[in-house]
Amino acid sequence: MSISLPSDVSSEGWRIDHILHVTHWAVVLLSIITLVWLGISLVRDRKHRDATFTHGTSRREKAIPLALAAFVFFCVDGYLLVRSHSDLSASILRANDMLGKEGVVRVQIGARQWAWDIRYPGADDHFDTSDDFYTVSELVVPVGRPVVFELGSSDVIHSLYLPNFRIKQDAIPGRVLRGWFQAEKLGRFDIACAQHCGVHHYQMGGTVRVVSEDEFAAWRAAMSRDGARMHAEDARAQAAESGYQLVVEDGWPEAAPSRAWAWPWGRSVQSAGGAP
């Protein structure tokens, strides 16, 4: 049995894997130091009848814990801090910049109990036009192109979790957070909800379907014609089959809100991490 992260199929996931792997090395090193140190004491010192008397207050003695603390603080913590900070500013928080990129795909993801409503801008690349279309819990993206998502919720807090893309972002009612990823491999991958959002939290799954650029273009063209309604019906049929509660209503996007506050589309957008 080997313990491993889920396969990484994103362009930026390596950053997270890297920092986890560096942490492994730090942890292995610190564990070895501790275990050897402790082990020697436990084996050797039990034979002693008398302990070596010291309060550990001389300068040299105090230097031992201080030096180790400094080592952990500057070398281990320092590296983690600098590294994660540079990953954030170089890439992970760059959703706004991605918007300007050639060929970027934009989606809006609205979480609700217990499904993910996904809106595409249609062929014209603009939201709030007549060719917008919707899918439920299926995120179709082309390989090799940045996908910028705007994430909100219409009821409680959920959390969009794409394990294979190393993405996790809370979906918070009343806020819209922006994030991005880029798929590097074709295939189907899981969407999960990471925040307890009620009884069916464990079923708030979905699929990311990564397709070729051509296939994506064809799919998008078909969907913006009449796909929205078709898809909603599919989802309804699926829900009826599986027997768990998936509320799919007519009249997108005004449907769905079961609560007093509004559907998140069209509110001011924050980048995940809050950059303006």
Binding site: L20, A26, S41, I64, I92, G205
Partner: protein
Amino acid sequence: MSSRPSWIRRYIFSTDHKIVGLQFLWAGLIFLLVGGLLAMVMRWQWAHPGEPVPWVGELLFSESNGAVTPASYTGLFTSHGLMMVFFAVTPILIGAFGNYVIPLLIGARDMAFPRLNMLSFWVTLGAQCLALASILMPEAPSSGWTMYAPLTSHYDSVPGHGQELMMLAIFLVGVAGIMGAVNYITTVLTHRAKGMNMMRMPLSVWGLFLTAILNALFIPVLAIAALLLLLDRVYGTHFFEPAVGDPILYQHLFWLFGHPEVYILILPVWGILSDLFSYFSRKPAYWYRGSVYAMMAICGLSGLVYGHHLYQTGLGPMLGTAFEALTLAISGPAVVLFVNWLCTLWRGAIRYELPMLFALGTLVVFAGGGLTGLYLGPITADIYMHDTLWVVGHFHLIMSAATLMGSFAAIYYWYPKMFGRMMHERAGQLHFAGTLVFAILTFGGMLVAGYEGQGRRLFDPFQYEFIVHLKSVNQYTTYAAFGMGLFQIIFAINFIGSLFWGTRAAENPWGAPSLEWSTSSPPPTENFSEEPIVCNGPHELGNPAVREALGKDWIGQSEVMP
């Protein structure tokens, strides 16, 4: 002067800190059992999803033929988490040891406010009963122990009135906690025996004292958060509603309490470990002041790092980085404390008696908890790790494995003081080995599943395809948890049996210098026949001058060098 107080005054509504301490101990242990059983049911569900739970299933889930349902699962993890944190571990570590130990260790006759102390216990017991009632309601609390808004503020997401009862219980236990905290702080500041200056207090007292300060500072924050949430839920106010209020505000309040809470639970253990390592390696605690300052530094930081629970809520980059830096900075003082322990053991004359075994076990699982936390500090790593079982495994290593093994160390250590008898050695060793091994397997199993991506709070994790292959890991973990549970039976038998059949304890069975061992076991009502006058530090062990003069390797805190 007066006539002897009645039996009820002495043993039930007693103001004697020792009786109150024991009452807290019993109450806490019983709820530990409740919380533990809930955990076992959850684990069953992950090993055999949808299958009837053996023995208790029919009783608990009769409508579903004894199987856990999605709704009852949400009730299980919520009740388990809250029971353990507020109604089991807090009463044991802070209520029981705080009460029993603080006055004895500083040479006081009782707490500063004995009546408040008694009240604190009775309010806690009331809260415990309320909490028990809440989980027996047809709809148990199901918000998760964090009770996030707006999930918790709406009956359609978190149905039933169990939730309100539980919130009330938490509010009450908070009130009791504040009473206790005020009492401990005052007692330590004003009731120390002559000569017992702050830097002569055993580190156990320092740990409990600092915990009390954190309690006094941060429980009120929880109380406010819970109160506002209750208003939102019951009266439809909008403190945490989107658009008019802010759901994230709740998280700031909750974690401003919630993160210090982790230190509230672990500080007493740190203090106790620091003393036990000294006593059982027959050496002074290494760099006493260093340990005190390290604990103070961690207390100071504890309120400033809570933001790491909010990394995924869209904290601004500036705020996120600040919280990240402060979080990582905690490892500084933590390393000092930890290395001081290792240095205390180094070249000691180590004695593997029961308290020492458990103290060493605590050290190991605590190290595991600290190291696994390193993966959660950096914002980027936390993007992946957040809300997975990795987090659950990590905090159980500290909040469960370390606090429980630390409590066991303390129980085995002070049992002779409390009851005048020793606990059975062989049975204790078995209990130790089983607990340590199975705790590591149980929480290690959670870490493995979490590293591979398994999310937390999932009734049936295997609904998600990427988790399906983790079923066998989950099964092994479940069996390990059952093993850990079974070994606690040995403890229960030993604890109760030794009350009657334990060998009589020697006057100072561990050769420890602190004041509680200079009086009888159990101590008389006002603890000391005459007020002790302290002339030595708490860790005068292995001093050659003492050995020369007294022919033993330690000198009591109130013992005068000839």
